[in-house]
Amino acid sequence: MSKEKDALEIIGDPANFRSRTDHLASLDKDPDTVSEHPPEPEKKGLSRRGFLKIGGAAAAAATVGGAGAAGFAIGRSDDAYTGYNRTYQGGDMFFNREPFRVDLPTFFEPVGPVERPDWTEYLFQRKHVIMELIQKGEWTPDMGLKKLPGPVGDHYRSRPRDQYDNMMLSLEKSVTRAEAWRAGKHKRYAIADAYNSSFRSTGMYNRYGSTIPEEPTEKHMETGKPIPPEEWDFRHIWRKEPMAFKSPKHASKLIKRMAHMYGMSLVGITKFDPRFMFKGLMRGMAHQGHDSWGDKVPGHWKSIIVFGVPMYWDSTYAAVGYSTSFDAYFRSRCASGLLERFIQELGYPARAQFPGHNYEIMMSPFVQLAGLGEYSRAGVVMVPELGANFRPAAVITDIEFEYDKPISVRMADFCKKCKICAKACPSGAIPKTDEPETVVRGFKRWKLDEEKCHLQWCSGPTSDGLGCRVCIGVCPYSRKNTWIHTISRELEPRDPTHLVSTGLLAMQTNFFKYPEAEEFKSDWDGGKEANYHKAPWWMRSDNFFEIEKTWEYHGME
């Protein structure tokens, strides 16, 4: 006879402990035993385990949906618009350059004697002189190249004829463009042009005395006296002695912070290198020093602070007609004037170099030397955060800084394989050779055909036609600040096998759709006025005005 158990023994017996839903375990047991302990009838409703199973499946689906929604929100967020940040702390400088510092920027090893650029090599200086000759009646295009006087005539006569022909064609296209504008383009591009003009005519070239920064050429025109840099660059200094910095490192830290305070996304500082200063060009001197300045270098030009901001992303993607450089030009120009004054208030000489054409230097090499970016196929500098969508300005001074070193993040290497900009260029101005082959003043370069590029500028659909920017919009590096592009930017320069760049380029060329080069042109110039991205909603005049829409938008939504 088996010993009877009392209640406490039954409760305390571990054999009586069993998970309520452990049905599978019970199947393995002896049927007799099972009959002794029949499973409790299942309660109605969802058990804990049932909830976990169904909930888990639902959570998996919700995770995928939530990830998609979060991704979309990140892409659409204002935070993706690099350079249009919410702080002044350089929060957009998400790319850590320190692992990529090098002594020389890419393609900066001279392959021949290095020559300083002459002022005639600056296209807008040439154009300015030509326009002045035409306005004064001293020369007209029908007189031909042979009679084009002065250094500009010599410049064109010493180069392939098509460069001069393209400059003349640009002038003709400018007339056609103005006619097309009056005939109807002013409706379609009403907002884009007004946006552009607000910066151009008020922020950049205001003639009523409120222009920032102060400009020595204008002062010279007012007074008729030459104003050399030894005078102009010191004009606001009131201290007997400059405020002495604790160290060059402290100087760099403060000035970079101030550049951010003035709204600049990126800033770098380097030693002034006279090799990239124009000869025969000094604002404030008679005729901008074309006849008198020669190759002098002011003694106090020791350091250069280079900074800049992006052009607004959505309009850049909608080049040609809906884009403008003047938004970024205006911001970097203002910052240069403010920083120039700030430095002079501390007792140091300073001279702003700023857009549109207020330079004594070539900006691109200094952007590279200051470690902000790298040389590109299209001739413009690319920076890791903004790609080619970057518009710089600078201030030259004699402050001793801790200089930044150049960087190599293999963007120029990527250019060797990627020819997206060259294929999309409506004017065919960008070379398509794998390697840079042309020696320009001692350095190997992909030589942009400036006259061809300018010809396209003058053939744009807006009132001033100043700019094209297709190469900048389509560049794979001109992408916003989202995690997916950040991964690409961080991985690519660290991959010794170059497989990442190959994969990224394959995706870029196959996943993204670009209009054909010809389609970017104005309709009166044989194109469709297509864009890489369609115009942003706020630039479509048919969204806001009582006008008849007579056009189609071509490009990605």
């Binding site: 888990g56 959570a59 929100a73 892409g75 997916i484 995706m507 990605m556």
Partner: protein
Amino acid sequence: MFPGTTILNYLFWMAMGAMQVTIVLGARAWLEDTGRKVPWWQMVLMYGCFLSFTAVVAGGFTLAGEFESRAGWYFIGFLGVPHIIAGAGMLKLFVFKKTDMIES
């Protein structure tokens, strides 16, 4: 995710985290109830594949958010399909394996 709010973003990501716990516990409960034994490293592989697929979806929609919808769909198509194939392969090898059928 929720522009202009200060709390919803945090709640959203907390919910996403909680869902990951539910996914893992739910999978474990289902495996136990169906008598399947899957080693931890196979679970990690399968969950990693799922997370990677989720990242692909997020990437595609990030591109769509940047007004690059075409690239976004291609991105999901080209990178997502291999994930689905790999995931199905792992399910077959690790979960619905033949030995389970014999044992059952």
